[in-house]
C-alpha cells in the first residue's frame, strides 16, 4: 500500500516577532546604525518642537484688533482671526457668503450619497458632473432667482483657490484621458494633433499661459467680444494640467499588457468599448499616484493667478500683511497658508491611497 502524504500542521509565529516590543526592536533598534539614527532623530525633535510650541501656542496672542495687541512675543494669531472671512471668501460680500457655503454643503451631501445603497450611482454621477456645476455657478455669480450679482473680480481667498483647483482637476482629467488615447492612436492626424498640443503646453511655464490668457487673448479678440478673466484663467490652467495628465495616463496605457487589448479586440468590442471597459479602468488604477501628484501640483499652482491680479488664498494673505495695522505678521500669514495647503494636499494624498486599496482586486496581473 502506498504511503499517505499528510502536510505538517502550521505553527504560530515565534512570540518575539509580534507585538509592540517587536515593532520597536524591528523598526527603531534593529542595528547600531539604526539605534544611532533613532537617538539622533529624537534629539532633532527635542531641538525643534519646544520653540515652535512656545511661539505658536504658549506665547501666542489669539485676540486683538491690531499688531499692537500682540505683546507676548509669540505668534499673532489675532491677525488670522480678523482677516479670516477675507482669507476664506476674498471680497465676496459678507451677507452673500452663505451661497458659497451652501454650494459646498451641497457638494459634500451629493458625494456622501454615493455611500447610500438605494441611490442610482449613474444618475448621481451625472448630477454631480452635469447639473451641480450649473447650480454652483448661478449660486456664486447670482443674477437668477433674485440672487444679487457678484462680479467674479470679487471672488477670492480659499474659495477661489478651491474653485480653480476643483474645476481644473475635473476638467483636465477627461481632457488628459482623450489626449493620452489620441497620442496612442493609430490615426496619424489625431496622433499628431495630440503630440503637438502636449509638447507645446509642457514646454511653456504656467505663468506664461496665465499671462497669455489674461493679457494677450483680449488684445486679439475683436471689441465687445471679451469673456471673463476667471474663465480664461480656468481654461489656461485646465489645458496646462491636461497636458501633464495625458503623459501620466499614457504611462498607464503602456503598462497594460498587449494581451488585454487583444482579448478585448477578439471579443468584438469596439475601440471605445474596449478602452472604457477594459483598458482605462486598469491603466488609470495603475497611475493613481501619478494622477494625484498632478492634481496636487495643479492645486498649488493655482497660487500663480496672483500674477494676473486675482487674489486667491495666498494672494489675500499677502495683501493683508501689508495692512498698516498688522505689519510684521508675514510669518503667521504664511504659516496659516501653509497649513491650509498642507491639509488639502495631504487629504488628497490619503484619499488616493484609500481608492487604491479599494480597487485592489487581488494578486498580480497576468
Amino acid at each position: 500500500m502506498a504511503k499517505i502524504f499528510q502536510p505538517s500542521p502550521s505553527l504560530p509565529p515565534p512570540v518575539n516577532s509580534v507585538g509592540a516590543v517587536a515593532w520597536v526592536r524591528q523598526n527603531l533598534l534593529s542595528s547600531p546604525l539604526n539605534i544611532f539614527l533613532t537617538l539622533f532623530s529624537f534629539y532633532v525633535l527635542y531641538l525643534l518642537i519646544p520653540p515652535v510650541v512656545e511661539w505658536g501656542v504658549v506665547n501666542a496672542t489669539f485676540g486683538g484688533e491690531s499688531k499692537a495687541a500682540c505683546t507676548a512675543g509669540g505668534a499673532c494669531w489675532a491677525f488670522i482671526g480678523v482677516y479670516f472671512e477675507q482669507f476664506m471668501y476674498g471680497l465676496y460680500p459678507a451677507e452673500e457668503t452663505w451661497r458659497i457655503n451652501l454650494a459646498l454643503i451641497l457638494l459634500v451631501v451629493l458625494i456622501a450619497m454615493f455611500a447610500v445603497k438605494a441611490v442610482n450611482k449613474l444618475y448621481l454621477s451625472i448630477g454631480i458632473i452635469a447639473v451641480y456645476p450649473v447650480v454652483a455657478y448661478f449660486l456664486f455669480a447670482g443674477g437668477v432667482f433674485g440672487l444679487e450679482i457678484v462680479e467674479t473680480s470679487l471672488w477670492g481667498g480659499l474659495f477661489l483657490t478651491t474653485l480653480l483647483g476643483v474645476v481644473g482637476i475635473v476638467a483636465s482629467f477627461p481632457l488628459g484621458v482623450l489626449l493620452a488615447l489620441g497620442r496612442q492612436s493609430s490615426m496619424p492626424i489625431a496622433k499628431s494633433v495630440c503630440i503637438v498640443f502636449i509638447e507645446t503646453i509642457r514646454a511653456v511655464p504656467l505663468i506664461t499661459i496665465l499671462f497669455m490668457a489674461s493679457v494677450m487673448i483680449p488684445l486679439f479678440l475683436p471689441d465687445g467680444m471679451n469673456f471673463n478673466k476667471l474663465m480664461r484663467v480656468l481654461i489656461g490652467i485646465t489645458l496646462f494640467s491636461a497636458a501633464y495628465m495625458a503623459e501620466v495616463i499614457r504611462g498607464g496605457l503602456q503598462a497594460i499588457p498587449k494581451g488585454q487589448y487583444e482579448a478585448a479586440d477578439a471579443m468584438g468590442l469596439t475601440y471605445w468599448q474596449s478602452m472604457i471597459l477594459v483598458i482605462l479602468p486598469q491603466a488609470l488604477k495603475l497611475v493613481i499616484p501619478g494622477i494625484v501628484n498632478t492634481f496636487i501640483g495643479l492645486f498649488k499652482d493655482t497660487t500663480l493667478v496672483y500674477i494676473v491680479g486675482m487674489f486667491d488664498l495666498l494672494g489675500r494673505i499677502q495683501a493683508a500683511t501689508h495692512d498698516s495695522n498688522w505689519l510684521g505678521t508675514t510669518i503667521e500669514g504664511y504659516a496659516f497658508a501653509g497649513f491650509i495647503y498642507w491639509a488639502a494636499c495631504f487629504g488628497m494624498s490619503r484619499y488616493s491611497m484609500t481608492i487604491e486599496r479599494k480597487l485592489e482586486t487581488g494578486h498580480k496581473r497576468n
Binding site: P257, G259, Q260, E262, A263, A264, D265, A266, M267, G268, L269, T270, Q273, L277, V278, P281, Q282, K285, L359, T361, G362, H363, K364, R365, N366
Partner: protein, 259 residues
C-alpha cells in the same frame, strides 16, 4: 504550393469551407512570416497546428480574427472576406472565440463579469440573461463556485478554463486556441485539455495551436505542420504521426516525441 496543401485545399462537392486561406502572405517589416498559405477548414473540423517556434503557426491562427493583418491573398471566414472594413472585422470577431496562451482575463473584473462583458456590450444581451448563460458555461468548465472571485485569485488552469468559458459565452461558430496549455503547470494541463476535448465532442469548429501531441492524436481531424512560414504538411493524425511525408516533419516529431 506543395502537393499536399493542394490536396487539402480541395473540398468535396457541395461542401462549404468555414475558414478559407487563399494564397495568404504576411510580412513583419522585411521578415516574410507567412508564405503562400492555402488552406480550408470545414465546419465542425478540429485542426491542430504544430511546428517549431517562429514557424508562423500563431500568426496564421491570429489572422483568422484579424488580430494580425495579412498583406496579400484573401481570408474568408464564415462567408465574410477579411479586409480593412471594420464592420466585417467586428462581425467575424462576434463569431470567433479565442483562447490565449496567457489567458488574458481582465484582472479588474470578476470571473462572472469577464464572461458577461462581451454578451452585454457586443450582443446587447440583458444583464440577467447574460449572467444566467455565463453561469451555465462556468458550470460546464466546472468552476461555477468561483464566479465572484477575481482572476488573480485563481490558479492558471482555472483561469484558462474561465477563458474558454468566456469565449463560449459569445456562442461562437469557431474557437481558436493559441497555445492554451503552454503557460500552465503540468498538473493543470489535463483539466484544460479535458474541457477542450469535451468541446470538440460537441462538434465545435476548432483551430488549436499546441504542442500536446496526445491531444492532437485523440481529437484532431487534421494535423497541420508549419515551418518557416509555410504549411509543410497536413494530414489525418494517424497518417501524420505514423507516416510523415517530409523529412522536416520527421525531424520535428522525433524531437518532440522522444524527449
Amino acid at each position: 504550393m506543395t502537393e499536399h496543401n493542394m490536396a487539402l485545399a480541395q473540398l468535396e462537392p457541395g461542401e462549404k469551407a468555414i475558414i478559407e486561406f487563399k494564397d495568404v502572405n504576411k510580412w513583419y517589416g522585411d521578415f516574410h512570416v507567412l508564405k503562400n498559405i492555402d488552406f480550408s477548414i470545414k465546419k465542425g473540423e478540429r485542426i491542430v497546428v504544430c511546428g517549431p517556434s517562429g514557424s508562423g503557426k500563431s500568426t496564421m491562427t491570429r489572422c483568422i480574427n484579424r488580430l494580425e493583418e495579412h498583406q496579400r491573398g484573401s481570408i474568408i471566414v464564415d462567408g465574410i472576406e477579411m479586409n480593412d472594413n471594420l464592420k466585417n472585422i467586428e462581425a467575424i470577431r462576434k463569431d470567433v472565440g479565442m483562447v490565449f496562451q496567457h489567458f488574458n482575463l481582465f484582472p479588474h473584473l470578476t470571473i462572472l463579469e469577464n464572461l458577461t462583458l462581451a454578451p452585454i456590450w457586443v450582443r446587447k444581451m440583458p444583464k440577467k440573461e447574460a449572467e444566467e448563460m455565463a453561469m451555465h458555461y462556468l458550470e460546464r468548465v466546472k468552476i461555477a463556485n468561483q464566479a465572484n472571485k477575481f482572476p488573480g485569485q485563481l490558479s492558471g488552469g482555472q483561469q484558462q478554463r474561465v477563458a474558454i468559458a468566456r469565449g463560449l459565452c459569445m456562442k461562437p461558430r469557431i474557437m481558436l486556441f493559441d497555445e492554451p496549455t503552454s503557460a500552465l503547470d503540468p498538473e493543470m494541463i489535463k483539466e484544460v485539455l479535458d474541457v477542450m476535448i469535451q468541446l470538440a465532442d460537441e462538434g465545435m469548429t476548432m483551430v488549436c495551436v499546441t504542442h500536446e501531441m496526445g491531444f492532437a492524436k485523440t481529437v484532431a481531424d487534421r494535423v497541420v505542420f508549419m515551418d518557416a512560414g509555410e504549411i509543410v504538411e497536413a494530414n489525418e493524425p494517424h497518417e501524420f504521426f505514423e507516416n510523415p511525408q517530409h523529412d522536416r516533419t520527421q525531424l520535428f516529431l522525433s524531437q518532440i516525441l522522444n524527449h
